[in-house]
Structures are given as C-alpha cells and as structure tokens.
Assembly symmetry: C2
Homo-oligomer: 480 residues x 2
C-alpha cells in the first residue's frame, strides 16, 4: 500500500486513519486528558474563529441577539419533555457534588440548551409584542461519547445554538428554513462544501422536535457528514416549559419554538472534504494564513529577501489578505514548503534573490492544474485576492464534481448497496422504521435526508418494494 | 428614605439592593435555575461582547493565540500543585457520573485552567524555540459560591484566561506586567474605570502563584472591586506538570509560567462605577446603543419624523455610531426617555415635527452639566462622535474625582477605620497575616494592593505599630 510523502497513512489505504493522523500532525487538535475530550490548538481554533465570524454576522444581521445561559441544568428540567430526556439521558455528564457537599438535586452539564432556555423564555414572553424572540448562544456542550473522533464526535464541543419563540407555526417554520438556508450558504460559500439540504426522516429527528432539517456534505471517502441542523419544535417545549403569550384577544396561546446549531464538527468537515495525502487543503475564506511567503537565500542576500518579503506581506495585508512570512532560520525552504502544504495554506509565495532582481515571485497554489506561476511583485496585492477567489471556487467545483460522481439514482437493491459503499444513493423508501433499520444492518447506510429541492416522484421502496412514503427520492449514505 | 423615580431602592438608601435591582431591571441579567448561576441577557451580553473585542484585539496584536481546552479536568490534576488544590477544592463542582455510569475518576468542572493547560504545555514545549508560548482562552468556569451576586460572584462566569510559558523569570515577569498594564488600559480607556494597579499581599495571592498583581477599581459606594488579575507562577506549575525545555546546551530547564484573567465581573464593575438612581450610565465604548433616537409626534407627522429618524440613524451608523431608533408604538416618548435612561444610553436624540422644520434635534446626555442642546441634524454625524468622546472622558474624570475624594492617606487607626468605612486608606502595614486578619475583623477592610506607581516611603504599621514590610503605603478598602 502507498504511504504518503510524510510517512503517514494514505487516504486510499485507510481514510479514517489518514484523517486522525492529519488533524494531529497539522496542529489542529490534541487529545484532552478526560475521555473523548479535545484541545483545539491555535491553528484549529483560528479556523473556528473565522467560521464563527461568518455565522455570527449572519445571525446578528437578521435580528438575533446573543446571550449566555447556564452550563449546569437541574436534572429534572430534562424530564419535562419526554422524548428529549429519552434521547439525551444516555449521553449526560452529571454533577452530583459541589462546594464540598452532595447536591440535593444533581445538575447535568448541558448537552444542548432547549430546557433552560425554554424556562427563561417562559419568563420573558408575555405578549405578542415580545415575539418573535430571537436568541443565539455561543457555548460548549457535553455529550458522553462511546466512540469519540476529533472534531466529529467529542465529549465536549463548541457550537452556536439558536433558540427562537414565535406566535405561530408559520413564523417558526420560516425561521427553521432561514437557519437551514443560512447554514447551506455558509457551508457552500465559506467552507466550499456543496451540501444537500433536506428533512430528516422520523427516526433521525432531534429528540423533542416535530421536524428536523439538516445539511449533509459528502466527505472524501463518500461518507456523509451532518454539518448543521435546524429543528421545528412545534409547541412541544412551549408545553413543557409554559412558553405562552397573551394574544390580542387576551387569551393565553402556546408559542412555537425552533432551535438550530452548527459546531466545531465543521472543522473536521473541511478536513474531510478537501484534504489529500499531502495534508490539509483549506478554503481561503477559512484559512488562518491565506498566503505564506517563504524567503529563500543565504546571508546578506537572505536578509534582503526577508526585508522585501516583509514589505510585500504588509502590502498584501493592506489588501485584506491574511499573510504570514516564514522566517524560521533553523529549517530549509523545502521543509517549509512541505510544512505549509501539510497545513493547507492556499497560496505559497517563493521569493529568492534572483526573483527580487527581476521584480517577480513564484506563486504556487496548494492544489489545482495551474502549476507554478511567475508573477510581478508589484501586481500581487491585486492579483492575490483574485487567485484566492478562484481557488475558493475551484475547491467548491471539485467537491461538487466529486459528490455528483459518487451519487447514484438507484431503483434496486444491489445497485443501492453498491452505491452506498462508495457514496450516496438516491432511492425511494417506504418510510418504515424497521425497513430503515434493515437497510442499516445490511449496508451501514442511513437515510441522510429528503432533499428539499428534489423533484416530486413516486416509486417502490428500494428495499422492501412497498410504496414510497415520501413524494421524492431519499438520499442514503454511510455517515460520520 | 428616598425612593428613586422608578420606585426602586436609592443608592444612598442601600447600595447593594440598588445594584441588584438595577441589573435585573435594566435587562442585563436574570437568575439561572441552579444556585448562583446567571443568565446574561442580550443587553448585558452585548456589553460583554464589546469588552471582549477590545481585549481580544490587544491579546492578538501582541502575538498571543486563542485556543480551547477541556471543561472537564481529572480531579487528580488539581492535586499536583499543593497550594492550587487547597485554594480551589472548596469551590469545585464535580462530575461523578457520565454516560449512565459512575466514573473511575471524578472530573472537576474547571474553576480555572492552569492544570490542564500546564499538562498540554508540557507536551508542546520541547526547545527554547517553542518559547515564549503565548496562549489565551475564552471560556466559562465554575466556582461554587456561597454568597453569589450577579456578575460579581456567580457560580459560573465567563472570562478570558491567558496562559504563557517562558524560558526565564524575566520574560515571564515582563508578560505578567504587560497583562496588568493591558487590563489597566482597558479598564481606564474602555470602561472609564480609573483603576489602581498593584501587587497583592501574600494572603491575597492566587493559589499557586509566586506573585499576584491586580487592578482595583473604586465603586460608587467606596468599596473596591478586583477587576482583573495577572499572576507570575515562577516554576510552580512547570514543576507540577513537567513543563521543561532543552536549552541551547541541551540540558532540561523548567519554564516560568504566567496566567491572567478578566471576566464578566467587569460588567458589574461598570454598573457599580457609573450608575445612579435613574439607572445604568454606560461608557460609550461599551454601550450597546450609543445613541437612541426617539421620534415624537402623532399620525402623519410621526410617520414623517420616523422616516427622518431612520435616515439620520443610517448616517450616524455610517459614521461608526451604534444607533437605535425607538419606534415602539405602544409607549409614550416619556416612557422611552425613562427606559433608555434606565438602560444607560449615553445620548438621547429627541426628534419632533417642529425640529424637522427647523432642521434640528434635541441632544440629551445621560449625565453631565450640559443639559439639553439643540443641534443641526446635518452636522450630527460629525458632532455625535465628538460628544461621545467627551462623554467617555467625562465619566473617567468623574470616577477619578470620586476615587480621589474617597482615598485618604492615614497614619493612625481611628482615621484608618473611618477612611475604609467610606472608601480607601493608604497606610503602612507590617505585612503580618495575623495583623491583616485583625484589621479585617475590625473594619471588614483588606489590603487591596501595594500600588506599583506609589512613591517609596517607610513608616509604622497603622494597626500594630511594627515597621512597615513594604517600601510604600498599601491601599486598604472593603471589597466586593
């Protein structure tokens, strides 16, 4: 089997090992001391911060306000919504002692915040004038994981969780759809992940939701990653926590609520979507360094190159490009090239004494067909932003081609099983939970979503032959 | 006793009740369900976000990188540093069960992160080239509080915690001093709090630190608020966690570490420093709305005023002013005036039909001697930023005058006791812990700090008469 240039596992050898080795080697993450926890290292955290900025701006621009709710929630709160407690109980971390004493009532470390926010909403909502109530929280949550994987499934993760209350179902459903569309845009335009947006089947719904929507991305091994979810709760949590308002007629009416979240899992999604055997490949919009300048030379010549590199970096920064100059004296240019390829930097600029003499530099893209390109230094502040835009678009095109090449429309079982072994199958399904379980048992594939934008069609279930329960084909795939 | 206009407790009646009522009434905070926890509502959270931006920029500009470390820490980690565990044990919240099972080793919810970050530093630092290692984390921490007070002492709070490792004591001490100075600047220039920076006496040191530095602000009742701390750990945590590096000679050398933090307590500090009986008074740099425009009128005239107010707000926003237009139809202009005074908005702009005819508006500052001012609408985008700057400077001047008027240099006990009943005393102290305790028992005052910028002086302890242990006067006061 092929080993990659860095001595690690190659993608086609063992994709899962490739991923785990890479997130450590590239300095994104480290293992925390408690089971399944992670330390997000500065390079990985910066990526998350850049994603946060994009999400936070969109959330605020649409009238949502950030707030902060408690980490520790009385255990009894979860029980107020029957499905919610059933879904989350197995994953809870529980504080039983505090301040040197056993607590009268244990506190759970929040696995999500519908309950405590529901309780507060019931205090804050009085009349229809308080609605819609549009809240968001940036927070850590804890869900005890049996099979943790860095970024994808960790005991603690970071996310934003939007929670909103509305006067009626229409308004709440518009909010649910807005969040889903916002996630699709961020995934596509920022992370260069061409996700499919759709509704989850009943078996895959959030615990306590009336309907759950998801965006699903296809990773480099053909598996699906649920990259963001948006839930319409109907009046389930409003009933459990008493979130009501006095209508214009004075009567007390239950609110309809929603919640929606995107998490540090997206960092893993970026790695799994774009990475290759040489390392990460970062979309420019999320790259901590969009350009790394590597000065080449020795002695006085190097000093001159480094000065020029510093000036050039300053001009690039003024043009809005996140630029880093690698002046480490103890390692060679070749080592630096490999290192920044491992770290997925979109553009490398090589600068040597002869380049300076001719007023040019060598621009190298992390991936693509263009190869090395000699460029006039003077024009770089205009040229680089354009190259970054092209690079961002290239990654999205490449990922879209890959996804489409690994998505098959199938009508019979053998083709279905084959399709989900390397990608996704679009197939009719009866909607029966037992049939879903049967498919999963035989292929490890699950219904990822009923795509919102698919054409209406009808047919026979690909597994059992019964009439399809959805008016369109369902996307099936193995999932992270 | 006087009741304020809003029917709440007046400052001079009961300052503590005034504070607690105000943070709820102004919509900054609500009580969380678990003991001592708080919900930071959007208005309070926005204030915190604006402070975060200021801190985060300064932290990043000086080469520190953000990262994220686990919330849950194995209990045994804390025990590795003897003073640290002794200091924090009584305040710990402990997870004993997770995933439906009892854990082999309990996990503590981080009260601070020296231990887990120390463990990671020991993995990440190998050679002197890895130093200094400059990390920062934005996080929530939990310390079980017996007497919680919103923002000031809550079971969970939000903060940034900087953690750095250095090759030697000098470098670590420069870092400790840098953080303290950064906090002083942010407190003074952003929060308009004229803090005193100094070193804590031994009895007030952080558990595990070799020296602790603090900024102390004087609140509106003369009490001191510790508003930010910076600790030099010497090699205490490096020894406990094995943070060492290979020097140029190849030998293994212990690092010197620091940590420093500022928290949501600052939101309480802003309320306690500037607020009055009419409500909050916010420094413009931290005000969610710097200007609120209140349109006045009825029917068609009001519609016209609201259009103009919208245009004006847009021009103010383009000039960088955070502007809100209050168009609530259900409440009167008078109600709005009171409401925004309660919420501490620096500038109110009243706009009515006659104002429009004359092309002017009425500008009202939340506090100050200027009174109402009629201003041409056209010049407002230039005028308002200048007024905000003046207002910010006014608050700092006012708070500085107040602090200076309530700080007394004393040399004998009666004057000391009198001084600390309404403010601070600058006095000589023997440095004896028992004498500190005695002072506290009699006056409730503690040594707040030994100010860095005070002149060198010597004298006899204000309490016991022994020779002063510090080469300058110590600031004493009652503290939050």
């Amino acid at each position: 089997m092929a080993r990659d240039a860095r001595g690690g596992t190659a993608q086609n050898e063992d994709f899962a090992s490739w991923y785990t080795e890479l997130v450590f080697k590239a300095g994104l993450v480290d293992r925390g001391p408690a089971k399944g926890t992670m330390v997000i290292r500065p390079y990985g955290y910066r990526l998350w911060e850049l994603l946060q900025e994009e999400l936070d701006r969109r959330i605020k621009d649409t009238g949502h306000e950030n707030a902060s709710f408690p980490l520790l929630i009385p255990e009894s709160y979860l029980s107020r919504e029957a499905e919610h407690v059933e879904g989350f109980s197995p994953e809870l971390a529980v504080v039983t002692h505090a301040g040197g004493k056993e607590l009268d009532e244990p506190l759970v470390v929040r696995p999500t915040s519908e309950t405590v926010i529901g309780e507060m909403m019931s205090k804050w909502v009085a009349s229809h004038r308080d609605l819609p109530l549009l809240l968001n929280q940036w927070a850590n949550v804890v869900r005890w994981e049996m099979r943790p994987r860095m970024f994808l499934r960790t005991t603690e993760f970071l996310w934003q969780e939007g929670h909103t209350a509305h006067a009626d179902a229409d308004s709440a459903m518009r909010e649910t759809t807005w969040a889903l569309e916002m996630y699709s845009q961020v995934a596509r335009d920022i992370a260069a992940m061409p996700v499919i947006a759709g509704e989850k089947t009943a078996g895959e719904r959030f615990a306590g939701a009336a309907s759950t929507f998801t965006i699903e991305g296809m990773m480099g091994d053909g598996r699906a990653l649920q990259a963001g979810t948006s839930h319409y709760m109907a009046t389930n949590f409003a009933e459990a926590f008493g979130i009501t308002y006095a209508g214009e007629d004075g009567g007390s009416t239950l609110c309809h609520t929603t919640s929606w979240g995107m998490s540090t899992r997206m960092v893993g999604g970026v790695v799994l979507t774009h990475g290759d055997d040489r390392g990460l490949v970062l979309p420019p919009r999320l790259a901590p360094h969009q350009v790394v300048v590597v000065p080449i030379g020795k002695g006085d010549a190097l000093a001159r190159v480094e000065r020029e590199a510093g000036d050039l970096a300053e001009r690039l920064r003024r043009a809005g490009v996140r630029t880093h100059v690698d002046t480490r004296p103890q390692v060679s240019p070749g080592f630096k090239f490999n290192d920044w390829e491992l770290k997925g930097v979109p553009i490398r600029l090589e600068l040597g004494p002869r380049d300076l003499d001719s007023g040019t530099g060598v621009l190298v893209r992390r991936v693509g067909d263009e190869g090395k390109e000699t460029v006039p230094l003077e024009t770089l502040p205009e040229r680089v932003p354009a190259v970054l835009d092209e690079f961002q678009a290239f990654l999205l095109r490449r990922a879209t081609r890959f996804r489409d090449a690994h998505t098959v429309t199938v009508d019979e079982w053998t083709s279905f099983a084959e399709a989900v072994s390397t990608g996704w199958a679009r197939a009719f399904h009866c909607g029966n939970a037992a049939c879903e379980d049967d498919i999963k048992a035989h292929t490890a594939a699950t219904p990822r979503c009923v795509p919102l934008d698919a054409d209406a069609e009808s047919g026979a279930c690909v597994r059992c032959g019964a009439a399809a329960d959805y008016d369109k084909r369902v996307v099936f795939g193995r999932a992270y």
